[in-house]
Subunit: 365 residues, 2 copies
């Protein structure tokens, strides 16, 4: 088991991200060690529950916790204020008090939704993240961004709310559909490109170990990404500065998800396309001198079964949708662009025709 | 104009509470002085808007701000997730970005609802409180507690989210219905009882000046209460310790509001009854030796047209409702009880029959 300590100086809070094999079966002991007390409500979905709910319940009750659970239907469309309200109803009907702990057992949707409810139920209760997808383990469960979607945009209603503990059990990756594994790898690749050339190169070289889910290598992958993300969040919890780097690939990525109603691309697939687009834009605008990064990135993504071409979607629809993204500041879109492998920069004045040109050459119509 | 600085050590944030006459007409200049930039959306209700919306709009546009407004119907029942959603819709439809400032122009309902939306829209935008009721000026606009109600309980969905500036214009008290003025005075009296004997005695002696809304005295009253509340919040932003003192009168107060669907008592009236009940319980349990505080408190409340007797409501209904209050911890009710004038204590083991007895002697059935 590896541990990353994340220290938020602003609030003088420290919490642990625990990474390793078989951790769900040890969850009761781990929570005790991290001073979690009071009643627990697990939020999960049926897909995850069939594998991991019983082991988690058993571990928690064996450790003496009073624990119950609620299931949310599986899918991004359930990351909504309506489902948050269902959880509030349950908490209030069953008289959970402000010392309650919510456990998010699932992927990013469960983590973000549960986190939003934890941030707002009685003005904030304890939160434990138990991410069961690669994407959630390397990205969404760390850093305290919680949210629900709004019909007019993804993650539009949310908060910054840190978990008390994150338990990333890499064993859960074995039951992950291959498409979800690939989607998670998009964020891993993102971490390498924005901040760590060596990490990127090693991940790019070990596609075999990743695709066959070698446990040791996956622990290394999750640990590496958690360290990068923790370092970024420690420096900039509220995304006023370098945390924005993590949005690399997300400007166009969010648009692609939004205009396809979140049911065509997995988040990581949309981010993969967004990273390719941002890299191509960086070359066209002269920020990135070495155009070979496009090929390197596309080869790495393709090798992990991630898309690099945009299927026939309208350029105008993609561009319109971008203006609603949170990364707009004072009416200007903020782009995270690679300068070289391992280094990015924020740019605001990207001409619309350059964006349109890149989208077109990637296959949009 | 008087200024109270509120310093949250935990987050190293400072914000100002501005108190005085005619401040709404100077709001544009005041916001500029406090570095407020970007678009502004004012949230208000029709009752307040008829008096203060135009002067506020004029002041802000004169200062160069791009500003618009949205009206929420007047009443506690509109402090709901549904109305929050209406504001989200408006913000997204009109493409307000994360540098937006929300101004809450109104009483506690508008302040809490607007604050909740500010805390959660795009994970948090700027918030300016312009409280127009005495209750909001001395209590709800200060300290960062924001929330909406749930059918099963008041303020059950919320956050701790500090405003950037509070502008308390005492001129607005002149258009306040007398019943609202009295309701606000309940919180003023509460501040005196929990922490400041001299403030209580002066307020109790000056009922004439209060009822005729002497501007200088009301500035003194608001300033005094803001100082007490600011001191408490600075020491304990998240209500883990002494901030709970501010809940004096609120355990039974919230129950009375809840079982009458928030339409029979003003919040301050319910708190007045709750303070009388808690004081009587404190005498019965031996915590408060000097029973004359009951009479002193009741005389002061009655002089300001606040109730001290509970109209025919069921004792069982009041007690049942208390268990859902947020002030329950590990299944135990926490009571704030006076030890003497100017000093309170938290007690948890109050026998149910003592509570029932006091409610009965106050008129409940």
């Amino acid at each position: 088991m590896e541990t990353v300590k994340l220290h938020l100086a602003e609030k003088s809070r420290i919490y642990s991200i625990l990474i390793g094999e078989g951790l769900i079966e040890e969850a009761g002991r781990l929570l005790q060690e991290h001073q979690i007390k009071g009643r627990i409500l697990i939020v999960t979905n049926p897909t995850v529950a069939q594998w991991y709910l019983q082991p988690l319940l058993l571990s928690l009750t064996t450790a003496g916790y009073q624990v119950d659970y609620i299931e949310i239907p599986d899918g991004e469309e359930y990351k909504s204020l309506e489902q948050a309200n269902r959880i509030y109803d349950r908490l209030l009907n069953d008289r959970y008090d402000r010392k309650t702990t919510l456990i998010a057992l699932g992927g990013g949707v469960i983590g973000d939704l549960t986190g939003f409810v934890a941030a707002t139920y009685m003005r904030g209760v304890r939160l434990v993240q138990v991410p069961t997808t690669l994407l959630a383990q390397v990205d969404s469960s760390i850093g305290g961004k919680v949210a629900v979607n709004h019909p007019l945009g993804k993650n539009m209603i949310g908060a910054f709310y840190q978990p008390d503990v994150v338990i990333a059990d890499v064993t859960t990756l074995k039951t992950l559909p291959p498409r979800e594994l690939s989607a998670g790898m998009a964020e891993v690749i993102k971490h390498g490109i924005i901040l760590d050339e060596n990490y990127f190169n090693l991940v790019a070289a070990e596609r075999e170990a990743i695709l066959k889910l070698d446990s040791n290598f996956m622990t290394y992958v999750v640990l590496g990404s958690c360290k990068i993300k923790a370092a970024v969040v420690e420096e900039d919890e509220k995304e006023t500065g370098i945390r924005a780097y993590l949005n690399f690939g997300h400007t166009i990525g969010h648009s692609l998800e939004s205009i396809t109603n979140y049911n065509r691309f997995r988040h990581g697939e949309a981010v993969a396309l967004g990273m390719v687009a941002a890299t191509r834009i960086a070359v066209k605008t002269g920020l990135l001198k070495d155009a070979s990064l496009i090929e390197l990135l596309e080869k790495c993504l393709t090798g992990l079964n991630l898309p690099v071409r945009i299927p026939e979607l309208a350029v105008t629809a993609i561009c319109d949708s971008m203006n609603l993204d949170k990364k707009v500041e004072y009416g200007k879109l903020r782009w995270v662009m690679p300068k070289r492998l391992g280094e990015v920069e924020i740019a605001t004045d990207i001409p619309l025709d350059v964006v349109q040109g890149v989208l077109t050459e990637m296959g949009a119509i």
